[in-house]
Amino acid sequence: MSLAAIFSRVAGIVITIFVIATINFVLVRAAPGDPAAVIAGQSGATDEKFLAQVRAEYGLDQPYVVQLGAYLGKVATLDLGYSYRLRRPVKDLIAERLGPTLLLTLSAFLISLLGGVVFGALAGVRHGKISDLAISLLALILYATPVFWFGLMLVLLFSIKLEWLPAFGYVDMRAGSFGPFAYALDVLKHLCLPALTLGAIYMAMYARLMRASVIEVAAEDYIKTARAKGLTEGAILRGHMLRNASLPVITFAGLQVGAMIGGAVVVETVFSWPGLGRLIFDAVTSRDYPVLLGLFLVMSILVIAVNLLTDLIHRLVDPRLAVR
């Protein structure tokens, strides 16, 4: 990537963050009632002293532009505000929840991408056969399933009926006394259902895309060339089709990261996963706006980061981008 390209990329990110922060600002101002009361809402009783403190902190007595500037300044210094409900800086709250969310979304992302590519390729190669039909149908259904409901049904099946996997949580409560290996294993066990829930829906999406893409690629001339070379079908699939066909899937997956993080909010709620999504749920039910706004910003940044990552993958896979 050229220096100019990097530069314009960075500029893009900065602009995006700026816009999101502005949305945040506007939203707080859009909330009905006194913004100070809204921000301070968690204190239970509306205490005048407290309100004054909030007003001063947010500069609510200043003109809008000055307020916006001050707010952006805070964002720039990573000051995401203070949760009066939890009596802690939002930054800390988010920091301690970031790990589980990353674990969940990344594993779901991998599951969905790998599964989508594999199943989609399978269906694409078997185009028109029974296995294609089965995969396509399943994908269609999964794609139309409400994530949280799917999660609940998995819990019903795997935790309540079969008792194979834990239904909720991140680790067993007794895990503190486990060894590191047992601990990891326990987290893994807890991770199964949420990651599967979140991953499956997107897997369905990617599988559909991959299938179409494989069918399209299969008709490409270079596949004919590969056949004319005498390669086996397996070698053609591996060496020529997969990579080309997964390009649109990767692009799309990059676009879906935002949606996936949104999905994580719901999945974490269903599975009591102690991540950002769970924090959002708690913040929503108690309308803890500083936390909500901070989370919104952080999640957007997360999306940008993952977008960069997919971009990188894309560049690795597609030499045409790398050179340009």
């Binding site: 809204v38 009596r87 949580g169 409560m173 708690d282």
Partner: protein, 500 residues
Amino acid sequence: QGAAGGLTAIINPEPPVLVLPINQQIPTGTIGGKIYESLLSYDFELKPQPQLAESWEISEDGLTYTFHLAKKAKWHDGKPFTSADVVFSCNVMLKEVHPRARGVFDRCESITAPDDHTVVFKLKAPFGPFLLAFETSSAPMAPKHIYEGTDYRKNPANDTPIGTGPFKLKEWSRGSHIHLVANEDYYLEGQPVLTEIFYKVVPDGASRSVAMETGEAQLSQFADIEPFDVPRLAAMPNLKMTTKGYEFFSPVLWYELNLRKKPFDDLRFRKAARLLLDPKFIVDKINFGLGKPATGPIASTTKFYDPNVTIYKTDVAAANALLDEMGLKKDANGVRTTIKFLVVPFGEFWTRLAEYFRQAMKQGGIEVVLETTDPGGFAQRVSNWEFDTTSNMLYQNGDPALGVARSYISSNIRKGVMFTNTEGYSNKEVDELFDRAAVLTSDKERAELYSKVQKILVDDLPVLWMTEQQFPTIHDARLENAIDTAIGVNGTFGRARWAS
């Protein structure tokens, strides 16, 4: 396993801090109650028992209370606990940071320490329930050597709470668990028995039940277990359920109508609304059998309860007749009037309560539109009287003077303050009865006055009392002596032990 050993309990939500003197939310009380103590504890009948005070006496005129402190009591950092700490706590710190304590200790003329182990409270006027003010959450003792002269709320020591209780904070892993360990230097002989307590943060209701079911956790309290799960868990052989240990709180639940507005100012309307409602429904279908219908403002679990008041039976026809009499006619859709209901934004229970209210009122042709807000907006609207109807639940804190009168006396109509007389009820006679009952010291005399006030209130229906809420404490069947005071799970757990 012997009597000692560790206990794993559930905590939800995670408390913001553990320093009980500066925060009295429920989870803070539960965990803080192991770390901090006050002068007294109370048995199930709310009779005072020794805690940091070994003994006490009250003067004839009911104006002077003298407490003799436990001599061996020490703070967790090794400093001795003395009467100076009590004076600092009650006279300085709590007055600043604890509104409820301020209300009580402002009644004192002076709080003094004649020697290291004696404290004397001199009241300006007699106050019947004064001895009930020394419950842990109501008047937690704070170490003077740490807090004196600092900004209490921002004191860095708030991360490492220092109390006198039988357990000390070892580790707090935010979002995960709080680890308490036994205080080896505890002043009461043979306490604590347990070696450690883990409080696990489990924000999800379903996971909490699972944790109890599997034995991952051995104790849950308050609203930890969703009501519908309680009967199931209670029936499990390895678990026990009790509703004891909440006597001090004895919360009463009611629907609140804004009496400043029409048609709520009309007693006939309130009566009709009351007749449309069925407390049994709330007990059975929203609470899954926990709690019992309330007959009036004072809970039956507290001292001055009088059952001989007007009893309202659910009667839709009578309600409609009353409404007809008021001249509220049904329109083509069978709607007499449309009112709003401000849904309490604290979870499913409150939502269900709102939904029930809507359906119940419908039978009388009263259409209810639910409004939702956030907790901030809720507090703001209720305390500023910007609502039609809502629901509310208040702790009685052991005595009508502490926890009941505040909702009905006209001197407590204070705009902008939550948990006051927000419905706007005003009745001179009631005011007077409550005032007089508070300053009497004889229980018998007080009971008489409270009986009178109960009768008046129940006939006047300032709010529509529904139920006396009960909380289930579910614990491992082998856990003993954990619930031994009127504050149950908020107690010290000094005597809690495993059955061998």
